[in-house]
């Protein structure tokens, strides 16, 4: 088994706010991330695909194909966007690094047909990242908070 990792960057803004919390509770739980106007990060995404090299090409996955998938599924959706308002896949969820990584996994998993998607690593800052390894025991992942959260 060989693991191939491709890295991309995108920049986006977000804010953390749960409408079920009081204003004070939101500030206490989310701190500066609750600033109502949001704030941004330069996200770094590492996508790792596992597989045996195809004897005909020597490749686990064709990088040109992988780059096109990442461009379409991640960059086009998230780059220079306000994640709370412009990424429908995050509706009803707080756009933490955990939830964004899980959304990216769900977007990429059906599209990567050569090799197996092994890991999605999303850096929110150089000192904070989340690794997503997919569904555990087929469980559905993080449930939505409510339909109207973050509106």
């Amino acid at each position: 088994m060989v693991y191939l990792t491709r890295k991309i960057e995108f920049s986006a803004s977000h804010l953390y706010h749960n409408p079920a919390f009081s204003a004070e509770e939101n500030r206490r739980v989310f701190g500066k991330c609750n600033n109502p106007h949001g704030h941004g990060h330069n996200y770094v995404l590492e996508v790792t695909v596992a597989g045996d090299p195809d004897p005909a090409t020597g490749m686990v996955v064709n990088l040109a194909e992988l780059k096109a998938i990442l461009q379409r599924e991640v960059t086009d959706r998230m780059d220079h966007r306000f994640l709370n308002y412009e990424v429908p896949e995050l509706n009803g969820q707080i756009p933490t690094c955990e939830n964004v990584a899980a959304v990216i996994w769900r977007l990429l998993h059906p599209k990567i047909t050569r090799g197996n998607l092994h890991r999605v690593r999303l850096y929110e800052t150089p000192d904070l990242f989340v690794d997503c390894y997919g569904e555990t025991n087929g469980a559905g992942g993080s449930p939505a908070v409510s339909k109207d959260i973050l509106k």
Partner: protein, 141 residues
């Protein structure tokens, strides 16, 4: 979803690698410059990875401010700007190699109440790093 949240922390400390089980000559042979009698220091980087369900109310595995406070209290505050051999009790008995530093940090953080500790990774320099997931495979000195 199987998610691991990783946070990076830093501390600076000195140490000396010198085994009571080896003689002076052997220690110099095994540890080289790391055996210099007055010790030397590194800027350590520590990665702490935790896992668990994402709380739907917060979108978080663990609140970073709670993780930061726990790591600060259990590791950074006691380790930063110290001579590890003398000031961390575990290293009076075990040699403060980065391997043993990984294990000591893991043991100190094992009881984090908000999430499961998955992995401790220590970068001793930008060229050397070490990982521990909480289990040793065999006997140890």
């Amino acid at each position: 979803m199987n998610l691991h949240l990783t946070r990076r922390y830093r501390f600076a400390a000195s140490h000396r690698l010198d085994s009571a089980w080896l003689g002076g000559e052997q220690n110099r042979l095994v540890y080289g410059k790391c055996n210099n009698p007055y010790g030397h220091g590194h800027n350590y980087v520590v990665e702490i990875a935790v896992s668990g369900p994402v709380d739907p109310a917060t979108g978080m595995i663990a609140n970073l401010s709670e993780l930061d406070a726990f790591v600060e209290r259990e590791v950074i505050e006691p380790f930063d700007h110290t001579y590890l051999n003398e000031e961390i009790p575990a290293f009076r008995e075990r040699i403060p190699t980065a391997e043993n530093i990984c294990i000591e940090i893991f043991n100190r953080l094992r009881e984090f109440p908000r999430a499961k500790l998955e992995r401790v990774r220590v970068e001793e320099t930008s060229l050397n790093s070490f990982e521990y997931k909480g289990e040793l495979s065999g006997s140890r000195p």
